[in-house]
Symmetry: C2
């Protein structure tokens, strides 16, 4: 493959694009890989399309190696299957929907669980047809409220989605383990440093869901590690270790006047100043903060929910949403309509709304909390005696230094990452919904169980750019680079002809070559563009080319060496490894 | 590449699918290449995806060889650019439109002229950036009123669309000629016999638009050839040769009572019976039939149009639509609202509606036609004397035996085809709409001129299936076949192991191999499936495999030969050519 910059559709930008907030977005725009076409939608330019295709090819290769078979579904689908699974309703505003000319309801599919399940129902009949892994690399749509980060979170994007169908739970474990290895291999080939984190609370089954997070400062996902064990989890999945219940019961509940203490800080100050309950060591952690939210469940009326968390914690709305999914929550603000909820002075005792508490609110724990009257609080409010939550909820924020829920010995550390892959033991949700049964070995029907495995292909390109760049430009890993070598013709005394001759030889040797043969562009501009474009291996055909020497540059190591032009094929082959 | 039928997602159908009306659709369903996912939308199964990818690869290859650069646009696009070109309105019901969560108008793009033009405007600035050919292979959407023929006319389909940008009209001619050659090469590699036909009337510029039609009985497009020259055209593009104007002027117009003659046949009978004008040789061709239609122009009020054609012709609504595009027409039926239009007795003289006539209605020609009164007709109604059409229109049907408009000597013959490609000198419609100017050689702005070049990729798969099948199944041309060879293990005495061993050797030699290693399937079923699937080269590993012999079958020639298994790689290599 030969790409000539004299004809290539490419315009590099010297200036930082105004609306690009993350490095990958800025560099992919500046180096001419993509252009914005619409909010959250990008056009792939020739260099970008090459990188996207390289990434797709690696994924296709690893999926096939893991026994995956490639199919391709339409993106525009009728409503019916998504009604069977209830996802038409659950997705709400997050999907694009439309009507066709006959008034039929359609959606632009955000994922294809329903279609994969229906296809397997159509194409299989017996245990002999299993296990089965199917995948596609296909354009997906989500009506994101806030598309951001260029390719990181778009409204139209390329996904590799795979589904495994197994007859037994053990079979699902095997398929999951095999795809997990395939993902590790694929991300390693893509040059993506990543951490595999639990994406679902242990309560729901340990490794049943894991995310592959590419470590990056601009990542939207916060995840935790442990200082002493191998635990790693998305913050949404962190399980709060519940302390032991106190052995001694607190004295009876007492209500005190606490005027002007609508905040935790003002309450703690007053409690200590007045030595409530004979103590002057009150801290925010002794108080119980009760946060009112409105829960929005698609297809159902909104509901008011009160969440109790220790006063030194905040409610993390992302953790809350994860706990409530598919419902979402927003802060409640219509206190005028609910006089029973006294803003700033809410307590869980006798509360008339649904009440869920942080796992730290164990039976027997005593709290300083609101008395449900303006200007009054209560002490010795004991869980299990003065109030009983309807359950616990993981809504409090997770912080560096929190105890590790896995080993108990270490402390949590916090990092940021980009979700590049998600593997998930889906189970029988969809095979149940569509009543997919096949003939078992014993002649009785068996219902297959599914795993789902997704990689954001366009997002992976951005994640690679986040991890592989410096202040001068991109630094593509070899397997995804748009070319193996970038030849720069630096000079006007036959260097262009010499560069093209060398390019021809390298192409004949099977290399993918980008050659800067632009006649009216200075060597300086060409070097700057080469650094921006990010093919890390370059050959400068300059003054000494007439003597048979060129300069070989490796931007990763910074090395620059004059090399006999006849030696270049060998030098590049060595460098490619 | 090794495909094992024991694990392949494949279920062949013995029965004809109920809703498949054309051979390609029936066979692609029966052989397990596609499944219907929604009206006009198909899922590609593993074998189908392989063929689709082979077709795409050939197109990509030929586009690159012709200097095309690949890009990829989103499918979901905002309304604005399509308002600039007026196509948001012109497309009307034919496109899928939707609103995003903020209420913004979007469409699923049926084609991307606007986006290509905007991209070139963004990425270029000077004559040095031209000429330029860009292409993409991308999913397109059309809300077809009547999706039909499986992949032949769908609502979601894969297109290869290319655009050339040239600075001069000569440059456009060159780009067009180069793409025309690339298309011929591509279709030849795809094994598609085709005819290149004019797709636009000569009046608008000869070769400015040509269609590639794959000859097929099930084709939706009718095209004409000539018995004595090389003329070929879509029926929509056929230009009716106008006869010479008569030298002698007819006598004055006479009105006659012609009761109960609402049809041409009844009128001709009466005219001959009464010897109107002293003649008894009236034929339908002497009468002028006036057909009333309603013209629907997107974004404008409907308009009544009367079309005059010789009474031995019918109005062909497809030709009429082509002549009126982007407007469309339907037969007018509200005669109660227009008492001036006397149904069955309309004449062009004094008509109050817009009136266009067939090119045969030349100045001086005299007609038997309606007198605009119930039960009365007029003779000697002379064009240019008694009435003057506002213009001519190509709306009359074209028939075998009509004179050739190109040579005048031959007669037209009629054939049917599937439109697999369309090339078109678009000119400056879009560069004008978006005011795309670049710096010219002389320092003045130049407006580029465009060509557009499309191939229906998924439709091409169906067209290949139409041209390459027999009563037993598909017969894929080598370059698009899902495998190079189909190995059938016929027997249970080690034949499966032997077949897999041979398959491994052939894969190692670089061949793509499909092996039928299903353990519980009879040889007869395997042979039937192999014929249906349509890899034309097969190797049967049967009884004699223990002696080192297998049978090589070529389904194209029907030959079957026992061959030493060690000789198979050479035999296949020879056969692949």
């Amino acid at each position: 493959m030969l790409l000539r910059m004299s004809t290539l559709l490419l315009k590099t930008l010297r200036e930082e694009p105004a609306d690009a907030e993350v490095p990958s977005h800025r560099l992919l725009l500046r180096a001419g890989y993509v252009r914005r076409a619409a909010p959250g939608a990008y056009t792939w330019l020739p260099l970008g399309k090459l990188v996207l295709d390289r990434v797709s090819a690696i994924l296709r290769d690893e999926m096939a190696a893991a026994g995956g078979q490639e199919v391709a579904f339409p993106a525009l689908l009728p409503r019916e299957p998504y009604d069977v699974s209830n996802r038409w309703t659950e997705y709400g505003d997050d999907i694009f929907t439309l009507k066709d000319r006959r008034g039929g309801d359609y959606l632009l599919a955000p994922t294809h669980e329903e279609m994969f399940t229906l296809l397997v129902q159509d194409m299989t009949s017996s245990y002999r047809d299993f296990p089965l892994v199917l995948f596609q690399i296909q354009t997906k749509y989500r009506d994101e409220a806030r598309p951001r980060g260029g390719l990181l979170r778009g409204r139209e994007f390329l996904m590799k989605d795979a589904y495994s169908f197994s007859l037994t739970d053990d079979g699902l474990e095997e398929a999951y383990a095999s795809m997990r290895v395939a993902y590790q291999r694929a991300f390693s080939r893509l040059g993506l440093s990543h951490t595999i984190v639990s994406a679902m609370s242990g309560a729901m089954g340990g490794s049943a869901s894991e995310e592959f997070l590419a470590t990056a400062e601009v990542g939207e996902d916060t995840f935790v590690g442990c200082t002493s064990c191998s635990y790693a989890a998305n913050t949404e999945a962190v399980v709060t270790p519940a302390p032991e219940s106190p052995r001694v019961t607190a004295p009876a509940l007492e209500v005190h006047d606490t005027p002007d203490t609508p905040t935790i800080a003002s309450l703690v100050d007053l409690a200590n100043a007045r030595a409530l309950g004979g103590r002057s060591d009150w801290t925010a952690a002794d108080t119980l903060k009760n946060v009112v939210v409105t829960v929005h469940t698609p297809g159902r009326p909104d509901e008011v929910l009160v969440i109790g968390v220790p006063g030194d914690r905040e409610v993390d709305l992302r953790r809350l949403d994860a706990a409530l999914a598919p419902a979402t929550a927003t802060l409640f603000d219509d206190f005028a309509a609910r006089p029973d909820l006294v803003k700033g002075y809410i307590g869980p005792q006798g509360i008339k709304a649904r009440y869920l508490a942080d796992p730290r609110v164990v039976a027997g724990s005593a709290w300083l909390t609101g008395a449900n009257e303006p200007g009054r609080h209560a002490i010795n409010v004991v869980a299990g005696r003065d109030f009983t939550p309807e359950g616990t909820i993981e809504a409090a924020d997770v912080r560096a230094g929190d105890p590790c829920p896995a080993c108990g010995a270490g402390e949590l550390t916090m990092r940021r990452g980009i979700e590049i892959g998600h593997i998930f033991q889906l189970g029988r949700r969809y095979t149940d919904a569509f009543k997919l049964d096949v003939l078992g070995v014993d002649g009785k029907p068996v219902r297959p169980t599914m795993g789902c495995y997704g990689i954001g292909v366009s997002r992976a390109v951005a994640a690679i750019a986040e991890q592989h760049h410096d202040e001068r430009g991109l630094l593509w890993p070899d397997e995804v680079a748009p070319a193996d070598v970038h030849i720069v013709a630096a000079g006007k005394d036959g260097q262009v002809a010499a560069a093209l001759e060398l390019a021809g030889e390298l192409v004949a040797a099977g290399l993918r070559v980008l050659v800067d043969d632009r006649p009216q562009v200075s060597a300086g501009v060409k070097f700057t563009d080469a650094e921006l474009i990010g093919v890390t291996r370059s050959v400068v055909v300059g003054r000494r080319s007439a003597e048979g020497y060129v300069e070989f540059r490796d931007r990763r190591t910074g090395e620059r060496n004059d090399v006999a032009v006849t030696d270049i094929p060998r030098v590049i082959a060595t460098s490619l490894g």
